[in-house]
Amino acid sequence: MPEDTFDQLQRLLDAIGQVPGSILIRGADRWIALPPGNVGDVLTINDGGMPEWVPPGTVQFA
């Protein structure tokens, strides 16, 4: 991929979020950046159907 195109894509996505460790998720009306969680947190789906970071102790694994 040409470097210019790569930079343009980066700038495009930077418009949504610039914090390192963010994840792009689709909100109700547009894409938003989910800020990074704490170390060890687990990405889970809340009751509203949106991804969120939770501490690992709150999730019961097998």
Partner: protein, 186 residues
């Protein structure tokens, strides 16, 4: 550089009523005040433009003086980086504001290095990603054949790596294999 005054009761420009325009048509010289007093536009698109400009002007008044200072600095940065002009600006702050309103100005770099983006830019980026996946709650994941949104996650589900380690997937926590049983270990 055009100046933008802090909010006030007057709706006239700083030079309103003080500038005279002279011009010649067919040998006759006319002198009149400039700008010409104009009535309210009647066409819907012109009214909409007027409304947008009024909203922008109100916003600038509310943000005074910090926002205008930041915008001026952002404009200087914009000129340095994208236009290559220095010193006297060839673009007026008012025109730049118009660019922001119509989404043609992409970002504004504050002296701290933080970038502010116009809502139009954010909207454009989101519309761009909607081509990949428009459904609520999706997370973008790179699969072997491209970027896809995971959208079929149930509440309580967690993201884990698929057994083939090809893609992250969303599944109930009970389905996540213990670390020591996962192929290859962690």
């Amino acid at each position: 550089m055009a100046g933008i005054r802090p909010g006030g009761a007057s709706r006239r420009t700083q030079y309103g009523g003080k500038v005279w325009l002279s011009y010649t048509v067919h040998g006759r010289t006319y002198v009149r005040k400039w700008p010409r007093a104009r009535g309210k536009p009647k066409l819907p698109w012109a009214l909409a433009n007027l409304k947008r400009m009024a909203v922008a002007q109100r916003a600038v008044r509310q943000w005074q003086p910090e926002a205008t200072k930041h915008m001026q600095e952002g404009l200087d940065t914009f000129l340095r980086e994208h236009v290559g002009l220095r010193g006297t600006a060839a673009i007026r702050l008012r025109d730049w504001l118009t660019q922001v309103m119509y989404g043609r100005a992409w970002d504004l770099v504050l002296p701290t290095g933080k970038k502010l983006y116009s809502y139009a830019a954010i909207r454009d980026a989101s519309d761009f990603l909607d081509w990949l996946e428009p459904r609520y709650g999706s997370v973008l994941v790179r699969t072997p054949d491209g970027w896809h949104g995971t959208w079929n996650c149930k509440p309580g589900g967690v993201f884990t790596m698929a057994p083939d380690y090809a893609t992250p997937l969303c599944c109930p926590p009970a389905d996540v294999p213990p670390r020591d049983q996962a192929a290859g270990g962690y």
